[in-house]
Symmetry: C2
Subunit: 294 residues, 2 copies
């Protein structure tokens, strides 16, 4: 049986993302605003912001209270995709079945659209979303900044880029995935719980959950890159292999990689054992991550 | 008589910047960390972080309380220079008398070093620098994010890039400079005062001061690009003209541009009239900005 994706949360995120932009027409800088919208509003699972909502749910906080932060994390994810696709980095012409941002708008605009998305993300987090508990907002700023920077997403991406066309051992592969993908996924589920004043014990559990979920997510990504349906994926199959990127199937083989992903998802679920509250939707996410086709 | 630059503040910033980095050796991602240090620790006036300290001084707050935020703003300024110098944007090979970041480290590392500096900036601001007043830290996050994004630095840079090789009228030139340079300068002096719980009246004055100071700063930059001493500037003279960039001397002529800069600096000083506290160092900054040779 396929695990169900929390589409109610996805739709709430989608609506909030659309509303988070002022109309672009009124600015001199309209073209970069269009480029930001183009990349941001191109569908997708909205995996990270959905996790923010599920983290909030777990501590009984309304989605409304965390939607700005959820949007902010999707802004950051989108900026990272725009920059990753650039000719100097992964040189990908297609993303989500459309021309990449730099193909559609030019490389200069794409670089700056990414930069602007990153800035706007912190503007959203810094908006007065929880005026009575600014300490929680500051903590979220710190979590997300750490997850995005040298000790997180960018750090992992650098090692990935510099390791292309070299042999990567299991330890380095683990470092890349844990940083490039895992840290922001972990920060997402934690951010929702932090804004709801979740306990340190709960946050430690979610740290473990996010780390394992992120690993399962990334391995499945690598597997789909080799075996997926191009029409469903929206990008060419085999592009990682072509670029000799460090992947789990490359290091362990397809079958073993799938087993590692399943084991990581199971660990993610197990980490939730004993938590108060309804953890059913977070468990479903772990199953979904392994079973997804795109 | 030359206005004196607040070198005590500059040295405090320089020391804090050096200490703000963990050793790079211990990471897989060492090379991007080296690239960040290379661009960040290459001297300069430290104009923006010095303004943070002067803003704090004005409301009686110790420098120690604002140094993380001061460093953060210099991180953001540095990231913007790294990205501006990229081949797809200004294509500048030299910066501060050294090869630009992408020349020294490659374009991929330079893009990611800029991204990481931006993230680390918000990590610094989100550090527990004022645990008793997190509301002020959140406000600073918002100010700096707005000043860096679509409605600030990146917005101005986009219009500048897209206007290259076209005729730019006075209104568009004003938009470019006010956003690309003015907003972050304004956010700097305000950030210091915000962290010291400065009144809304004071912040409104500093907004005006920063806007005028930023204009004078940018016009002088444009003038130095045409008339300065390459050895002192650390970059080739005439590079704006060669790229047909929108500049005040280009639109108004050199002499008139210098007059506009002087008038803006005088307005900056006048805006401080009637403020309590010692505004002498902020007034000196306005004079310095017009008289500087680099």
């Amino acid at each position: 049986m396929r695990a169900s994706y929390p589409d109610d949360a996805r739709l709430a995120v989608e609506a909030a993302l659309s509303e988070s932009f002022l109309p672009c027409e009124s600015r001199y800088a309209g073209v970069v605003c269009e480029a930001m919208r183009y990349s941001l509003l191109s569908g997708g699972k909205r995996f990270r912001p959905v996790l923010v909502l599920l983290g909030a749910e777990l501590v009984g906080l309304d989605w409304d209270q965390v939607l700005p932060t959820a949007c902010a994390i999707e802004y950051i994810h989108t900026y990272s995709l725009i920059h990753d696709d650039l000719p100097a980095i992964d040189n990908d012409d297609m993303r989500r079945a459309k021309p990449s941002c730099h193909i559609a708008f030019g490389e200069d605009v794409a670089i700056l659209a990414g930069d602007a998305l990153f800035a706007e993300a912190f503007r959203l987090i810094g908006a007065e979303q929880s005026p009575d508990r600014p300490d929680l907002a500051v903590r979220v700023v710190r979590e997300i900044a750490e997850a995005s920077g040298l000790g997180g997403m960018v750090g992992g991406q650098v090692v990935d880029v510099l390791s292309a066309k070299t042999q990567v051992d299991a330890a380095k592969l683990d470092f890349i995935h844990r940083h490039k993908t895992g840290k922001l996924i972990t920060a997402s589920v934690k951010a929702g719980a932090i804004l709801g004043d979740g306990s340190e014990e709960l946050l430690a559990v979610l740290e473990r959950y996010g780390d394992r979920l992120g690993l399962a997510f990334q391995i499945t990504d690598d597997i789909l890159d080799l075996t997926g349906d191009e029409a469903v994926l929206g990008k060419p199959v085999g592009s990682d292999e072509e670029r000799f990127k460090a992947t789990f199937p490359g290091v362990y083989g397809l079958e073993e990689a799938a087993k590692i992903a399943r084991a990581a998802a199971d660990e993610a679920k197990r980490s939730l054992n004993g938590l108060p509250g309804d953890t059913g939707r977070l468990r479903d996410m772990a199953d979904f991550v392994c079973e997804r086709k795109r």
